[in-house]
Amino acid sequence: MGINFRDVSFRYNKKSPKPTLDNINLDINEKGEFITILGHTGSGKSTLVQHMNALLLPDFGEVEIFGKHITRKYKDKLKDIRKKVGLVFQFPEYQLFEESVLKDVMFGPKNFGLSEEEAKVKAIEACRQVGLSEDLWDRSPFTLSGGQMRRVAIAGILASEPDILILDEPTVGLDPVGKKELLNLLEDIRTQTGKTIIIISHDMNVVAKHATRVIVLNDGKVVYNGPKLPLFSDLERLASFNLDLPDSARIALKLKEKGLIAFDDLPLSLEELRKHLDLNPKGDSHE
């Protein structure tokens, strides 16, 4: 069970000729996936993920979310869905409002029906998971740095223990170190808890390093849904989607042009590139 789109179409402006989402069919049922959703600005990525936790209802078709059939006419409660599918927006630090970090992280669980004590336990767990040290828990979230605030916001969704975690551009605005830490955090969550992580990203290096599956949207349609290597290996198609190559892939192609490297499968990450250059893996002799 997971999230399944069946012939879903949607448009924000009911009078607009072009739909924001055009006949979407998708299945997200496996555990432990790391899915990246790619596409140009305006291709419908945000709209797509807002259908995954029923913030938006489809105009046509049906989204099946953990057994619930969400259509345009759905009138039942949506809270269960919001608990099972956790959605973190861009700049999530803007959703913080409580007096203390812990209280803010407890907000979600409490809304989903947990008691004060139970919520506190889950909040503490989530804070530990995102790497927020105990001395921060009683502080006002607004006294923290931007990166820390973002982690509080993510903890606030994790505390409700969703089965699927969706993040819209989680690293935008972070500096390189913050970016790396956040992505490693997501990777840890995935491997330790088996949750499926879905992120909207524009960074091909993130895709290369973490993604187990890539979904590409173009003008509201799903134009690619599969592993990353075939996507990046077909340069023409990649360009037609308005997407770039990951840095390492670009380097690999350039070096191949100059005859300095040989490979069959396009290296997508630094590790793969190293192998093809017969370089010792990092951490060997330089530190």
Binding site: T41, G173, D175, P176, R250, K254, L270, R274, K282
Partner: protein
């Protein structure tokens, strides 16, 4: 216009000093990139130059003259800054109004204003959007309007304060291309503040800040090859630089060719 920091000490609060006894000289017409981790003091430098904050001690000099509350209004006429948040610096109700805002403040006569608005909107590729409202523009487009607004004021110093950090790759590319052509066609002093190493490769000079101090200062190639210091300063080393460093320390037979190819690639980005 040259910019100089002489023994500048500054902190937003009494306890934390962002810059301490800071010294820096930027020559007229140079393009300098200042990079560093969040909190390293780079944005503070920008604010000190345009006088949005005042140094606790030491002085900021423009063309040898110390900045003070008395002369800051006059010097601001010669400086333009583009900030990080595309929405929070867009003042006008339309693109045209926003580009004109600085000109209105500088008391430019109306006929001249109209000419400049049209010319600089075209320069940044936004001439079709003059009557568009900001909520119908992308981040990259809003930043281009901000650049047009600064260019229209025809200042001698232009500062880009993390102008790309809130943009997606397409928006970032638009801005970088605009800055590149600026550098090529104009003779202004350009300061680019960022935390992305890829963006500094076309500058004349790169300064790495770490906790309020200058960790590196040199040409892009000089600075980018100091991988360890870059990492210590909290910066993510781009893949090509990482490889260069590793290849140089290896015993690969064709390492010179590889390194040269990688440098070529780095500067072509």
């Amino acid at each position: 216009m040259s910019i100089e920091f002489r023994n500048v000490t500054f902190g937003y609060t009494k306890e934390i000093e962002v810059l301490k006894d800071f010294n820096l000289k930027i020559e007229d017409g140079q393009m300098v990139s200042i990079i560093g981790h969040n909190g390293s003091g780079k944005s503070t430098i920008a604010k000190l130059i345009v006088g949005l904050v005042e140094a606790n001690s030491g002085s900021v000099l423009i063309d040898g003259v110390e900045l003070s509350p008395e002369n800051i209004d006059e010097y601001r006429l010669k400086m333009g800054i583009i900030f990080q948040n595309p929405d929070n610096q867009f003042v006008g109700v339309t693109v045209k109004d926003d580009i004109a805002f600085g000109l209105e403040n500088h008391n430019v006569p109306r006929d001249e204003m109209i000419k400049k608005v049209n010319r600089y909107a075209e320069l940044v590729g936004m001439e079709e959007f003059l009557e568009t409202n900001p909520e119908n523009l992308s981040g990259g487009q809003k930043q281009r309007v901000a650049i047009a607004g600064v260019l229209a004021m025809e200042t001698e110093i232009i500062i880009f304060d993390e102008a790309t950090s809130m943009l997606d790759p397409r928006g970032t590319k638009e801005i970088i291309e605009t800055i590149k052509s600026l550098k090529k066609n104009e003779n202004k002093t350009i300061i680019m503040i960022t935390h992305n190493l890829e963006e500094v490769v076309f500058s004349d000079r790169v300064i790495v800040l770490n906790d309020g101090k200058i960790a590196l200062d040199g040409t892009p190639r000089e600075v980018l090859s100091r991988r360890q210091i870059l990492e210590e300063s909290g910066l993510a080393v781009i893949d090509s630089i990482q490889l260069i460093s590793e290849i140089e320390q290896s015993c690969l037979p064709n390492k010179e060719a590889l390194v040269e190819a990688l440098w070529e690639l780095t500067f072509a980005m």
